[in-house]
Each structure stands twice: as structure tokens, then as C-alpha cells.
């Protein structure tokens, strides 16, 4: 049986600098042993522990979709010891990845429903995974209308810019990209995410909201969706906590009796209400 | 036999933490004047001996240094007026303390070398290298990994 503490060896095959400030990069990783890709079978919303030998591990949400074969992607902001080391890496370097961990976006639950995706800033990564999964030709008809509302502080901080353009060309996706404050070249929408949500006003009829972003954004966006008639069971979000083992043993990421790494990170608001407010 | 050979070919690693204004310049002068001295030192330049956290010294010993040399401006000649005078108190207590816990006193050395003393710098390095060589490899606080 696979030892859950041992990472799969991977090679960094591509590094994309996502934002103008250069502190968010996407890393494309290829499994050194092709059979590991089968073992690392994931669902959007799950995360992996990126492992840099000599530095440590860091839990990061998986940004690619399982429909993208041959590699996995992680979008990482430079912050601590591991992520800083990661940002200094070059293409071709060997590192490790452990996972996939956690539950995932509730795909079965989302099927047959209209989906509203709300993302803010850098937290858009696992939502991107979900979007790419849903719009894949094999999957698209399993889901209803898809509305995406994505905001960043300024145009330079939007991630996955090329993909956003591609998505906008599609007619089976309603994409709303907004920035808090535009610049000279910005032709798109301006305004905070909650305001844009109010303008877009997706119907609560047979709909589920998947929301992920900074706490302040979530706090102001939730009332909008409550007003639109969304029930707590139909608002789904993802939590963050300090983690080490990722498999519910090391004992630090629990919220009440639930471990964010094992029982989470994805919870519906209804579930969160039952947990203690310690996150 | 093989052990003896290994012992003879052993060369100590010495970390020299020196101040920018005096000893580092002194080392430079020794170089420019082509004065020979043993190649066992790895020099780390700091702004002033007053900037040296005693931790650097202990950490060097843990990390595999056989000896640590600290050198700065002569008292009264500090670029920052009193940096080395304050540092002197730290070194006096540290040296006594390390000796007390059982680390050989000759593994941690403190001295002053001015910018004009290229000669003295080479002499210090010779002296320190000889002393550390006499003590043999440092094993006491050496961290092994794996």
C-alpha cells in the first residue's frame, strides 16, 4: 500500500508568471513515473502537498482539471519558506507532490444544476479547475447554465488571462471579469465582486454557488446571494488552515471534530454553520 | 594505516567572521601584498563585530566548522566608534561559557586586525590554523543528518 507521507517525484515542465507583481506563478508538473499519474487521480477542489526537499511541504489547491491529461498544475503565491523556494525554481527541476488530498467540489451534487462560480483574486485556482472540468466536451451537458464572476484588485492581478479570453469566446459560459480599479488599457468591468454579483443577479432556481476568495469578499458577497434566494445548502466554499500531514493525523487543521485536510476543505455554508467558528 | 593517512590529509575548516572596515581590508592587503597564509579559512564579512550574534559562532561549529575566528578593528578604532567594545564583552563571556560546557577554547578565537595589518592577518590565520590542527577535527557539536 502507498505510504501517504511519501511524495511522487515530479518534474517542473513549465512555469507561467501569472501577475504583474510576479509573485504568483503557475507550475506545470509532470510525473517522473508515468504510472504515478494514475495513482494521483483527483477531482477539482482537491489539493496536493508540494514538496521541495530541504525546505518542506506546502498544501496548495490543484489548479488544473483532471480532463487535462499528462500533467498537473498548481498556482502558487510566494509567501513562506516553501513557496519562496518554489518561485526560485527553474523548468526541469525535480520536486515532489503528495496527494490528492481532501474532499472536492461536490461534482455529483452540482450535476444537472445551474452553477454560479464566484472567485476573488488568487483563490480562483481550484475554481478554474472546476470550470475547465465542467466545460470539457464530455462533461458540459451534465451541467446547466454556468455563470462565472471573477474579480481582482487590478487588471495586472488577474490570473489565467489567456484562458479568460478563451472562455469569453464560448457561448455556453457566462463570464464576468471585474477589477476593483482598472487602468488605462482596461476595457472591462470595474467594481467589487459583491456589486457585480448583484448586477449579474443569477437566478437561484435550481442553482448552486461555488465561492472562493478572501474572507472580506466572501463576507460581503454572501448577503447578495441570500437576497437572491440561495439557500445555505447551495452555497459552497473552501477553507484554509495550516496543515502538515494532510491526512488528518498531525492534529492542527481541525475545525471542531472535522479536519480541514481530510473532511474538507470544501464545505457548504450549511455544514459550516454546524462547525465551530475557529478558522 | 589508512586511518593515519586520512588523519594526515585532514585539513581543518575554519570560519572567519570579520568586520568590513578593518580585518576584511587587512585580509585584502595580505592578498595584494601576496603574503601566503593557509587556505583553510572561509571568510564571512559583516559590517562590524558588534553585529555578530554569538549564535553565528555556535551555529558554525554545529554546521561542521573545526574552528571559528572572529576579528574586528582594534579597540578604539571601530568604524562605528564602540561596536567592538560592546562586542568584546559578548566574546569574553561566550568564550568562557563555551569552554565551560566543554568545547575546546582554541576552537573559538577572537582577535583584532586593522586594515593596515596584512602581515598580522596572515600571522593570525597561520596561528589559528595551527591551533585548530593540533586539536583535530571538531566532533562535539557536529550535526549529522540522516
Amino acid at each position: 500500500m502507498q505510504n501517504p507521507y511519501i511524495p511522487y517525484p515530479v518534474e517542473v515542465t513549465k512555469i507561467i508568471t501569472e501577475v504583474d507583481t510576479k509573485d504568483i506563478k503557475t507550475f506545470r508538473l509532470k510525473f517522473v513515473n508515468p504510472e504515478d499519474e494514475e495513482k494521483f487521480k483527483y477531482i477539482p477542489g482537491q489539493f496536493g502537498e508540494l514538496s521541495i526537499y530541504g525546505k518542506g511541504e506546502s498544501p496548495i489547491g490543484i489548479a488544473s482539471s483532471p480532463t487535462q491529461r499528462g500533467y498537473i498544475e498548481f498556482t502558487v503565491q510566494k509567501a513562506g519558506v516553501v513557496t519562496s523556494a518554489l518561485h526560485e525554481m527553474e523548468e526541469g527541476t525535480l520536486m515532489g507532490v503528495r496527494g490528492p488530498m481532501g474532499n472536492s467540489w461536490p461534482i455529483k451534487f452540482l450535476e444537472g444544476k445551474n452553477i454560479v462560480i464566484v472567485g476573488g483574486g488568487f483563490a480562483f485556482t481550484t475554481l478554474r479547475s472546476l470550470i475547465n472540468y465542467m466545460i470539457h466536451e464530455n462533461n458540459r451537458k451534465r451541467f446547466g447554465k454556468i455563470t462565472v464572476i471573477y474579480g481582482a484588485r487590478n487588471p495586472g492581478l488577474l490570473i489565467y488571462k489567456d484562458e479568460l479570453i478563451e472562455w469569453q469566446k464560448r457561448d455556453d459560459l457566462n463570464i464576468n471579469v471585474t477589477v476593483d480599479k482598472g487602468d488605462a488599457t482596461w476595457k472591462g468591468r470595474e467594481g467589487f465582486v459583491p456589486t457585480v454579483c448583484k448586477e449579474v443577479a443569477p437566478s437561484a432556481e435550481n442553482a448552486v454557488t461555488v465561492i472562493c476568495g478572501p474572507p472580506i469578499m466572501i463576507r460581503f458577497t454572501l448577503p447578495v446571494f441570500f437576497d437572491l434566494g440561495f439557500k445555505k445548502e447551495n452555497i459552497i466554499t473552501s477553507l484554509e488552515m495550516r496543515m502538515k500531514c494532510g491526512i488528518g493525523k498531525c492534529g492542527r487543521c481541525n475545525v471542531g471534530s472535522k479536519y480541514v485536510c481530510k473532511d474538507g476543505p470544501v464545505f457548504s455554508l450549511a455544514e459550516l454553520d454546524k462547525l465551530t467558528k475557529e478558522y | 594505516m589508512a586511518e593515519n593517512l586520512a588523519k594526515e590529509s585532514w585539513e581543518p575548516k575554519i570560519v572567519a567572521i570579520v568586520c568590513n572596515w578593518c580585518t576584511y581590508a587587512g585580509a585584502d592587503l595580505a592578498g595584494i601584498s601576496r603574503i601566503q597564509y593557509p587556505p583553510n579559512v572561509r571568510i564571512i564579512r559583516v559590517p562590524c563585530t558588534g553585529r555578530i550574534n554569538p549564535f553565528y559562532i555556535v551555529k558554525a561549529l554545529q554546521g561542521g566548522a573545526d574552528g571559528v575566528l572572529v576579528s574586528g578593528c582594534h579597540p578604539g578604532e571601530c568604524h562605528y566608534i564602540t561596536g567592538n567594545l560592546v562586542a568584546r564583552r559578548k566574546f569574553a563571556t561566550l568564550k568562557r561559557f563555551l569552554n565551560y560546557i566543554g568545547l575546546e577554547g582554541d576552537r573559538t578565537m577572537f582577535t583584532w586586525v586593522s586594515a593596515s595589518e596584512g602581515d598580522r592577518f596572515a600571522q593570525v590565520i597561520r596561528g589559528v590554523t595551527a591551533k585548530v590542527k593540533a586539536l583535530g577535527p571538531a566532533k562535539k557539536m557536529l550535526k549529522k543528518i540522516g
Partner: protein
């Protein structure tokens, strides 16, 4: 079940005999402390002890353990999994409370989905020999309040009970029976068994310290925000003594250590009492003060573990009570909670 009688002074000899062939952890007197240590030629097992200072959990879950090794190559680091080698080991003379702790730790480390190989391998290779408490060692012992008993076979492969003139050795599991050859040939009779039962009953009654451990669960369920939590932690030093001494505390940290071209990934004990335990890179800390950390410690033992595994994560050994430098007494805390 095989049962034998052994002479009282034979115990040290048995442990030493085993130590010739196996790794034997036993209580050893070291200066003022009695510690569980692997027996060597010059270490004398000390069975006249009350309880060991350190919890024997370290046999399965050591303070520091290598998870894997790695080396540098031109393309970066490559790792090699640390071999999980654990030879045949005997844990000789643990108290029933500590043996009970192994059952609790099993629930966490040996789950269906994620198995902790490091723990499990050592656990499987170790035979646990319990030395039952014919007389409760301390006035602070409260095992009977947390599903334990001073004479109990919980978590043990062999149970030794002092029945006055001799020890009664009961071989509980097949793993224990394999070691029967070390225990002489004298079969135990019914008299010995009756005697043991009497002693067990007496010992159980002798445990005077009681806490309402089961009663507090419904109270903890509903009082996460109770002002009571602000009253315990004032004098807490935020040291990790209670958690490091605790036989059931199992939180750990994973870190890398590298030097030149080699490195290791280790896991080492961590403690929910340490401020950095939950501090995130962003600086946000969900458990911002000692108040939240104490709540976590109490909740984890008396609520979360019950929720997840239907067992209280406390064995009543009293180590935290006796070791706390500022005398924060978990017995009193539970008592107070029950009155909320």
C-alpha cells in the same frame, strides 16, 4: 488462554533474558526519573516503579522520526523512502493506562483510508507486556473515570498481576503467547485467578480521584463560546510539558533538514500549546491566544475524539497533573465544566 505463575524476583531476569534476543523497552531508573528505555547490558530494569516519567508512546511514535531521505542530483533533489525497519520489540512492564493509550492511538494512526506505516509497523512488531496496578500508584490516578481499570488487559498482549506471593501472567493474544517460553512452566490454578479478581476489584475501588469525563461531552457540544474558557489559561506558560508527557497526545510537525547534498524529512512532536502550532504563513492564527489552545486541548480529548472514534482521548495517568509547572489540573477543569 494460557496462564502461568512466576516468582516475584524472576521478573528482572525474564526481561534481561528477552533483551538478549529482542529489543526490550522497560522502565529504567535514571537519576531521579524512571524512564522507558531500551535495555542494554548495563541498564537494570526497575519494576518497583510507580509509573514512568515519560509515556511509552515513544516506542511507536518517537519524538523524532525520519520519514524519508533525499540526495541532491544535477536536476534537483531525489528522495528515497526511509525503510520501515522495526525489529521484534517487547515493551515490558507498561501500566494498564499506558497500554490503553495504544488502543486510542491505533484509532488515529491505523484508519481505513490513511494508514500511518511508521506507527503501524512498530506497533505490529511489538509485544506489550502490562504490569497491572495491584495498588494504584498515585493519588492523582483517575483511570476508572476514562474507561480504564488498574488491572486491565486493554491494549496488552500479556498481563502480569502481582497476586501477593507471585505474578500471574496471562497471555491475552497469540502475539503474547509466542513469548510464553520466557515465563517458566508453572501453570496458574483457579486460586490464582480468584485472587487476581479480588485484587482487581480492590484496586478499582482504591482509585479515589474521579472526574465526570463522560458527563462533560454534551456540555462541550454546546459551549464552545462559553466564558468559562477564558478562566483556565491565565497562568499557563505555553510550554508543551503536558502534551509531551501525555500518552495519548499525538500531534506532530513535519520538517526538512538538509546539509550539503543530503537531507531528511523528519516528523517530530508538536504541541497544541505552542502559539506557532496553527499560525499560517499569512500571519493569521485561528487559535490566537492560550485560551483557544486550552479549549482545543480539552475539546480534542473529551469531545472531538469522542465524535470521531467514540473514545475519550485520556487514560487518566495523571502525568499532566503532576508535571504541569503551574498546576493547571485537568481534573479540576473537567469538574468545573460539568457544573457549567
Amino acid at each position: 488462554m494460557e496462564k502461568r505463575l512466576i516468582k516475584k524476583d524472576a521478573l528482572v531476569g525474564i526481561a534481561k533474558k528477552m533483551a538478549e534476543e529482542l529489543t526490550v523497552w522497560a522502565p529504567v531508573k535514571k537519576e531521579d526519573n524512571v524512564l522507558f528505555t531500551p535495555l542494554t547490558k548495563d541498564a537494570e530494569p526497575f519494576f518497583a516503579y510507580l509509573n514512568s516519567k515519560n509515556a511509552p508512546k515513544q516506542v511507536f511514535f518517537p519524538h523524532t522520526e525520519t520519514l524519508m531521505k533525499y540526495t541532491r542530483t544535477p536536476k534537483g533533489m531525489v528522495f528515497s523512502a526511509e525503510e520501515n525497519k522495526a525489529g521484534k520489540t517487547v515493551l515490558f512492564g507498561v501500566r494498564p493506562c499506558d497500554a490503553h493509550s495504544f488502543v486510542l492511538l491505533d484509532m488515529l494512526f491505523d484508519q481505513e483510508k490513511y494508514k500511518d506505516q511508521y506507527y503501524i509497523t512498530k506497533r505490529n512488531n511489538t509485544t506489550v507486556i502490562t504490569l497491572a496496578c495491584a495498588e494504584p500508584p498515585y493519588a492523582t490516578c483517575f483511570c476508572t473515570s476514562v474507561d480504564g481499570e488498574p488491572v486491565s488487559a486493554d491494549g496488552a498482549d500479556i498481563v502480569l498481576t502481582d497476586i501477593g506471593s507471585e505474578y500471574l501472567a496471562e497471555f491475552i493474544t497469540p502475539k503474547g503467547e509466542k513469548l510464553a517460553k520466557y515465563f517458566g512452566e508453572t501453570k496458574a490454578d483457579a486460586v490464582a485467578e480468584t485472587k487476581k479478581k479480588e485484587i482487581a476489584e480492590k484496586a478499582k475501588k482504591a482509585i479515589k480521584s474521579k472526574i465526570p469525563a463522560h458527563e462533560v461531552k454534551p456540555i462541550l457540544d454546546n459551549n464552545f463560546e462559553h466564558p468559562f474558557w477564558a478562566t483556565i489559561h491565565g497562568k499557563c506558560l505555553a510550554c508543551g510539558t503536558c502534551t509531551y508527557m501525555c500518552p495519548t497526545c499525538h500531534c506532530f510537525d513535519i520538517s526538512d533538514e538538509a546539509k550539503a547534498s543530503d537531507g531528511v524529512r523528519i516528523r517530530s512532536w508538536d504541541s497544541c500549546m505552542f502559539p506557532l502550532f496553527t499560525k499560517e504563513t499569512s500571519g493569521h492564527n485561528p487559535r490566537i491566544s492560550q485560551k483557544e489552545r486550552w479549549r482545543q486541548r480539552v475539546m480534542h480529548k473529551f469531545k472531538y475524539y469522542v465524535d470521531n472514534f467514540n473514545a475519550i482521548a485520556c487514560v487518566g495517568c495523571g502525568r499532566c497533573v503532576m508535571s504541569c509547572p503551574v498546576n493547571i489540573d485537568i481534573r479540576k477543569i473537567i469538574e468545573d465544566i460539568s457544573k457549567l
